[in-house]
Amino acid sequence: MAEPAIELQRCSYRYEAAIPALQEVSCGIRAGTWAAVIGQNGSGKTTLAKLCNGLLRPDEGRVRILGQDIAGQPVSRIARHVGYLFQNPDHQIFAASVWEEVSFGLRNLGFLAAEIEERVEEALALFGLEPYADHPPAMLGYGLRRQVTVASLFALRPPVLILDEPTTGLDWGATQVLLGRLAELHGAGHTVVLITHDMRLVAQRAQWVLILHQGRLLIEGPPRELFAQTELLARVSLNPPPITRLAQKLRTLGMRGDSLTVEEFYRDYAAVKGEAQS
């Protein structure tokens, strides 16, 4: 069994508000897993992510990244292992040009100039940013600003990538490109953690899902099992994707009722239809 890439032990965190943002959350995400963190606005998803990259430190509890307790480690050191994509691209954009922005992390970690050049050029090409290399990123549209932050993360290629609602503001085409790149990194052994509200995306990609509710870990498991718990999901205002809801509606007709993708649904349908006709 692979060691956990991320391990939280009874972590609590409180902003200034009276109610803690996270309460005694314990969870582990195994190295090489594609995980998703879902839950309502304000459930603690972003707080959890920021505990993993050291931007926030738990009031209580421990955070281990790749087996190492990160208490006391500076953020710049943790950044070698954990890459983080902010929910709002404007929270991380600051450089005068797209090229500088995308190269910042690499320069900071002391990469050699030739390596920096190569990785930045590659990242710009991957995300269609070549025409904007000299543009001030703050002047670009939202979708392009998002692409700039994604390219910055890809240039670094850390072993653990945490992306906070990365597809927000991206169109479908750009989302597919991003998911394709993430799939490549995942295939190469990187751990990918997506914070998202997109249940289609969770159903299609995630191997492990954590549901946060009011600062606590409500449940974790593979998406197929979690999406079957319709009452629990409804209680926290989550809904399986359309295809899973359709499958559930047709369970009475002999279908399995747990499809996560269109392809899966069709295979199930064809099997049931074949049986009915024979």
């Binding site: 839950g39 309502q40 304000g42 543009h135 359709l246």
Partner: protein, 300 residues
């Protein structure tokens, strides 16, 4: 409510409240003397009161730019090259200030933080009505109504900046609703909302349209939701309108949408999957439609 609207603004249902004719626009160039590429290249559209129009388009299509032409930010505050006409509630935007237009058109942006600046949620929502110099009890009533509509009455005395992303988005929406605009422009308002938040925004859109006859221009990438709400769908790409029509008709042009980098409703994808393999002619957009047809297909 609608008759009140008509009495106040003289615009009845089904009259265009927005008319755009052959609009071309380019932002000012980044460096003086250079020529900026046009963002809008001959856009024409109309929107009637009570109508909800979904605007789809890939990143960089010009969707947000189009939104900014409706409240006069373009061209009054941006400059640039502006040709063609934009009429909002009988006013030519070239002849009206953004201040005047803001009473007619409310725009809620993708990023709610860019438009929240008050100390409390209440102040944020009161800001617009106060700037209209309405009587205090009217302002109070509008705040209550807007907070209720967005289900954020409990956040009334909180600081907007201390809220979660989705809560901020609802505050921004409430602030616009308190202005009771004739046109509500939602530029991807639900992207950072959780499913419950999305549902509450959709519910608010439907209710606003029903009760106030407000015209709604809704920029979105969430094509699963479009068929549930929109009367009409527009596809904008590279500054031009490529498709326009009822949701069924537009989503039937799957290749065109995909080619432009847009998502299809998942039920539409499923219908295509079936049609290719079974020789059927399904055109589903909603789960219920697919459930009905497939129950028949399996049962029969």
């Amino acid at each position: 409510m609608r008759s009140l609207w008509e009495a106040l603004f003289g615009v009845g249902p089904l009259e265009p409240v927005i008319t755009i004719q052959n609009l071309h626009y380019a932002y000012p160039p980044l460096t003086a003397g250079a020529e900026a590429p046009p963002v809008l290249k001959g856009v024409s559209l109309s929107l009637s009161s009570g109508e909800c129009l979904a605007l789809l388009g890939p990143t960089g299509a010009g969707k947000s730019t189009l939104c900014l032409t409706l409240n006069g930010i373009i061209p009054h505050l941006t400059g640039g090259t502006f040709r063609g006409e934009v009429w909002v509630a009988g006013q030519d935007t070239k002849e009206s200030s953004p201040g005047e237009l803001s009473q007619r058109v409310g725009v809620v942006f993708q990023d709610p933080e860019s438009q929240l600046f008050n100390m409390t949620v209440e102040d944020e929502v009161a800001f617009g009505p106060e700037s209209l110099a309405l009587p205090p009890n009217e302002i109070e009533a509008r705040i209550d109504e807007a907070l209720d509509m967005m289900a954020i009455a409990d956040l009334r005395h909180r600081s907007p900046l201390a809220l979660s992303g989705g809560q901020k988005q609802r505050v921004a929406l409430a602030a616009m609703l308190a202005m009771r605009p004739q046109v509500l422009v939602l530029d991807e308002p639900a992207t950072s909302l959780d499913p419950a938040g999305k549902a509450s925004v959709l519910e608010a859109i439907l209710r606003l349209r029903r009760e106030t006859g407000m015209a709604i221009l809704w920029v979105t990438q969430d094509t699963d939701q479009v068929p549930l709400v929109a009367d009409r769908v527009l596809l904008l790409a590279e500054g031009r309108i490529l498709l326009e029509g009822k949701p069924k008709g537009v989503f039937a042009q799957a290749e065109e949408l995909r080619g432009r980098g847009l998502a299809l409703p998942q039920m539409c994808e499923l219908a295509r999957h079936f049609n290719e393999r079974e020789g059927t002619d399904y055109g589903w957009l909603r789960v219920e439609e697919a459930a009905h047809d497939l129950a028949e297909a399996i049962g029969g």
